[in-house]
Amino acid sequence: MKDKIESFIHKILWEIEADENLKKRIAQDLRTQIMEASQNRDLDEVLSNMGSPSEIAHEFMASMQDNNIEDLKGLITAPNKNYLVNRYFIEYRSKINIFGLPLVHIKYSTRLSRSWKPGIARGIVAIGNIASGIIAIGGISIGIIAIGGISGGVLAIGGLAAGLMAAGGISAGFYAVGGIAIGFFTIGGASLGYHSIYGANGARAWNFIIKSFSDLFGIK
């Protein structure tokens, strides 16, 4: 029971951008409230009635913004509920939802904050430190179309990209294009595939790999 409560609170705090002291305050109050409410009711029912951790976190953020909580003063500046921004963090969640996901969700936080954690964006169009959606753009992105430092999807473009069609510095996919490309149809500086097109350096790299394996396993 205690683990379930702590896990639930942890998920809420994960999405709250605030000073650590304020987070402790919120955790204390939520913990006692959940324990109190579950005295005479099933814990799952209590948690379900409270709403999802994401909804609770969003409500806290909006209300703290309305109330000018001291620890947040100067951090949050935007008054609109679906748009939260401070020195370290920005979140925008469109009011239009499709299949339970916001049409656009942007969640990004900078590493300047004392308690940095990546902004996780989930939406039809998702942009964030970590993004997942139909179109995902982020440091780490997963989606039908994924663009990012590390990306995975049907069409993945990024420094490190993996997917059905992948393009990137290092890419792996059925169709792969990149500095180093691995897959079935591949084009790259160094390219490894059933059908490959590679440049001069790539040819050299490929020959080096083949030679290394041959030497390793004693194949002539």
Binding site: L22, D29, T32, E36, A37, I56, H58, E59, S63, N68
Partner: protein, 116 residues
């Protein structure tokens, strides 16, 4: 609930909390229930709305908080509770707010009930 209604409620929630706490100390969950029941569901609130109001009142020294252990004889699983209670400054603030609200309501009524 419409946005207008939400904004109107936000204006008076502080008064209601201070008034309830002027009668007795209460913990968060108790306040949520009292507000819901005593207002016939009009002020049914979520924790995400209530606690930030309590934090602001506490930061302004209108209320203070204290921890108390649950009663082992009365409860199945005694839980420690964080009680909120009104301070002398809070009582003065409550009086000011109630007076302002009454003046405002009187002014509003003068327009709303005006015979043309």
């Amino acid at each position: 609930m419409g946005e207008t209604s939400i904004q109107l409620k936000k204006g008076v929630i502080e008064i209601l909390i201070l008034k309830l706490l002027s009668r007795e100390k209460m913990y968060g969950y108790q306040l949520l229930q009292e507000l819901d029941i005593k207002t016939g569901g009009i002020f049914k609130m979520k924790e995400g709305t209530l606690y930030p109001v309590l934090y602001r009142l506490e930061d302004n020294a209108f209320i203070s908080s204290l921890w108390e252990e649950g009663d082992k004889n009365m409860e199945k699983r005694p839980v420690p509770r964080k009680y909120y209670k009104i301070t002398p400054d809070g009582i003065i603030e409550l009086e000011k707010l109630v007076k302002s609200l009454r003046d405002m309501i009187r002014g509003i009524n003068l327009i709303l009930e005006e015979e043309i």
